[in-house]
Symmetry: C2
Subunit: 593 residues, 2 copies
């Protein structure tokens, strides 16, 4: 199976022509780097993704690990090899500063490079992504002792990490976390409780696993204000040796996808001997964890783009290879059949996938660029603006690729016909993987509430105003570049519809009708998504007017036209429904079902 | 696991209040039947579906059969029991006339009853559905010898049947069927060729399988005009004994869903000893098969409704049982959590599922009613009108539940959160089952071409004109009944949009721009779907104004309002896109991807 995973020319176009990687590299923070160093890392990632990860995907998916005696979980040998290769490649610290042993690449270049790794083998990459995210929490909020005790070995790839938030009675509701932390005489805590759906929570790829765990210190306030963050290792060091830390894997979930990476239930402290180290200050766990969650949400968005992209490229290849049927006007059944890519409806499905995959990638890389600017721009005002815009875009960048990406994966199966419904082709496996992305790291429903209830109104709507200004500037550039009204008018109308809906709903919230405001959060998310991705496509269309690669430019133009005609045009009806206060579901009595 | 599969009160409401089963029973053809006999059959089906089929669903899904030595395929023992039970229940001939040993129930009552069986265990029912469809072909087009030789034992449940159309090089393109039929001295034919994706093509539930097979008689014209229909038994009778008929199961496809019913590859005549019996006249195979395909398409539509319905009811139960989070305005984290059905976005997902499931069921049962009228109405003009309308609705009734039903199944997973992504709950299995329905019996793309290129223009558009008249009559009734404009105006606008798009595209086709016409077939299908299902909901809303069950009536009203506000309002933008001649995908050059 040969698969490019992403279109190299499109990724390069995004980095250089659309998202201005050269401009980013001119910032003082990236003085050690250049387009050349970024390209070297990109090349190395592409090679590993295509030559090591992708070939391992099928075998790993086909042999999901189970629970063995003593809570043991053994991963497929290809997961072991992938771990060694990815650590050697330097994925754990590619975007971390040199001060903690990192390479210090811009997040923009890192994310674009890692997207290939995710597309090659999602489960294999996720183990590293979780580890670097967990280590990052300690880097940000832990003291020198914790950094030395845990972070260093995690960044080195000797140990891995998890985020241990969810409990059986507290999935989306973190204020109900019940895991307990009891202070011990040695300054650490004794942890007890049960966590579920912990990805990478048990395996044999590394000798130790550090669980970044939410728990409640005895006597802490109820709700999210009483939740603290702990580093809880599977094994703790005693006299220079690793001993069991009373963290038991009590079951492995049988998941639909992501089958290479076990998701497990963990019992902490069944014997009362589970030591945990407080990270940062007590009762600040949710605030700290939000850093990881925001990064994790962007990682999920990029995962979703990657799973959709690898399937998109498989669908292109299949559509070009598979002969079936003849042109609609052909009358002679003795003429040869044509490849299905010649059929308009197959092209529609391919262009829709392209619009979703490459529009989604542009959005996630824009978020990576904003991450860089929010951390490294010398001007504090620019940093703050980038942060607010990133904060606004994060729930969209998590949800759009998960929801639309799932549709793209479904279309890839459809193009494969009956064969796509069998395990003879990998499209069904990527489709199974994709489904998780609307659920984990905050469901689409939670993201909608976050976007409308928090991000839209943050700082008096500053992020949305900034975004509107940027979209308007792109519209002006598009007109200057001579792009047709079919590309600009639908986006302009969508932006107005979004702003109008924001005003309508914001006014409801301001007058105390919070339920009336938030019951339209799903419509609001759709409205934001078609607009933001429309902006991504118009930015690409503007940049493509200068592109020397005419195939690339025509592809961008076709996808942009498709998006504007098919998706951006949905905005007015969405805004009208929001304005009408439609309440059929909110008013629903369960007895009516 | 307790699950009603469908809402009994809603099914009864559809039959009696919306689709006028009593009026149908007044036709002379149904003189032997009454509401009581229909209700008895319904009760028996509900009981089997809930007590026998549903408990077997999980075990059967978990143990998909494989290929054993000698081409043997052994089904799960629960599939054996289900077969015996369904045969005893009389499903094979419930709607067949007494002349062939049937019960002669109206298709309307039969389809509503069998929907429960499909929802209980899709694979188990499908074996019977395929058998009755195959036997029906022999009943319609075979002579007395073939009826005695094959049909009788199929209707008795001793033997089962399949439809063997697809070949590796001819999936959607039946004109490329290459299986050969060579005349033999005894009046039969020797069949040779390979068929793929033959559902129920090999199993050990019955002693023989009759494959209704498309093949080409030596010297036949190329294309679909040279394809004939044959009955090809797995075993043929020689001197009163069954002997091997040289039909080898050479592989079993590893499918994503429908795992209880094997889909296999069959090699006919490897040893030159495969006897086939011509059904009807030579070269008429496609015409004959279309009868079965149209029935099969309606069966797929009902399968899709059933898979969505059982998941919908599981989601209702889960949403009522699962506590998570608090009201949006609650500030006190020590108050108990509320069931997730209290959250507006969960209600949205449930009401959307209801609108899809029950709107889809209404459409499929309307098609069943039209089947009855087209076959049994005493007035030939009424029969013809019913046939034309049924013909128009069939591709919609196949595609809408498959496409939207898949979305409903996805929402059922979403409501289950992380648990829905595991095999601990059955929602993921129904979701896997559902995916096939957009692919088999003609992909959604093929259905779109059929609707727009054949059905819309058939008899000068008579079916569409008739439908428009019926929708308009329902709109008038709704106004008379005092229903609000929020229920009627979106449907009225959708109907106008559909008619306008039909005129636009019909004119393109009439002037020879067939490609320009048909490249909008997917949009056209969407437009037809939101309108037709809107009609179903308005008919239900009108009927519900008289309903004594107020919970039922309010549920119908909520779903109708939801559909009109959310789906019917999509019609104008779809029609505008069609009118614009948008061609981004049709103009796509593969090099641009």
């Amino acid at each position: 199976m040969s698969n490019p995973l992403f279109s190299d020319r499109h990724v390069d176009f995004l980095l250089r022509e659309v998202l201005d990687l050269p401009g980013l590299l001119a910032l003082p923070a990236f003085v050690e780097h250049s387009e050349e160093t970024c390209a070297m890392y990109m090349d190395a990632c592409r090679k590993v993704a295509r030559q090591v990860l992708l070939p391992s995907y099928g075998p790993v998916d086909a042999a999901a690990p189970g629970l063995e005696a003593g809570g043991q979980v053994r991963l497929h040998r290809d997961m072991h090899e992938a771990h060694r290769t990815l650590v050697e490649l330097g994925v754990l610290t590619a975007a971390r500063p040199e001060a903690v042993g990192g390479t210090g690449l811009p997040m923009l270049a890192t994310a674009a490079s890692h997207a290939y790794l995710m597309a090659g083998n999602l489960a294999a990459y996720a183990l590293e992504g979780l580890t670097t995210g967990a280590a990052r929490l300690i880097e940000s909020f832990g003291d020198d002792d914790l950094r030395a005790r845990f972070m260093r070995k995690m960044y080195d790839g000797e140990w891995t990490g998890t985020m241990a938030l969810t409990e059986p009675q507290a999935g989306s509701s973190l204020s109900d976390v019940a895991t307990k932390a009891t202070p011990a005489a040695d300054g650490t805590f004794r942890i007890s409780g049960t966590k579920v759906f912990i990805s990478g929570g048990a395996h044999d790829v590394a000798e130790n696993i550090i669980h970044l765990t939410l728990a409640r210190i005895e006597g802490a306030p109820a709700g999210i204000k009483g939740v603290s963050l702990f580093a809880v290792p599977a094994k703790r060091e005693v006299n220079g040796k690793l001993v069991d830390n009373d963290v038991l894997c009590s079951s492995v979930f049988h998941k639909v996808g992501w089958r290479g990476l076990p998701s497990v239930q963990l019992s902490f402290g069944d014997r009362g001997e589970c030591h945990g180290w407080l990270v940062g200050a007590p009762h600040q766990g949710i605030k700290y964890m939000f850093q990881m969650m925001n990064e994790a949400r962007l990682m999920v968005g990029l995962n979703a783009v990657a799973s959709a992209s690898v399937a998109f490229h498989a669908a292109i290849a299949y559509a070009q290879d598979r002969p079936q049927g003849r042109p609609l006007t052909a009358k002679d059944p003795t003429t040869p059949q044509i490849p299905i890519i010649e059929h308009a409806d197959v092209r529609r499905m391919l262009l829709r996938q392209k619009a979703i995959v490459e529009g989604g990638l542009a959005l996630l890389l824009e978020c990576a660029r904003l991450t860089d600017l929010s951390e490294h721009h010398p001007d504090p005002a620019e940093r703050k603006a980038a942060f607010l815009l990133l904060d606004l875009l994060t729930p969209i960048a998590k949800t759009f690729p998960a929801e639309y990406g799932f549709e793209a994966n479904t279309l890839a199966i459809q193009i494969h016909g009956g064969y796509g419904y069998t395990s003879e082709y990998p499209v069904e496996a990527w489709w199974r993987d994709q489904k998780l992305n609307t659920i984990h790291e905050g469901t689409s429903g939670i993201q909608g509430l976050d976007l409308l209830g928090r991000k839209m109104v943050a700082e008096g709507g500053a992020g949305l105003r900034d975004l509107a200004g940027r979209v308007t500037a792109t519209l002006a550039k598009a007109s200057q570049a001579g792009l047709p009204a079919t590309l600009t008018e639908p986006l302009s109308a969508a932006l107005q519809a979004w702003l109008q809906a924001s005003a309508t709903l914001g006014a409801k919230g301001a007058t105390g009708d919070v339920d009336g405001m938030l019951r339209h959060s799903a419509d609001y998310m759709s409205l934001a998504s078609v607009t933001v991705v429309g902006w991504m496509w118009l930015r690409q269309a503007v940049a493509a007017t200068n592109a020397t690669d005419r195939d690339l430019a025509q592809g961008v133009d076709a996808a942009a036209r498709y998006w504007m005609a098919t998706e951006a045009t949905k905005a007015p009806a969405l805004a009208a429904r929001i304005a009408s206060g439609e309440d059929s579901y909110a008013a629903l009595d369960p007895a009516w079902l």
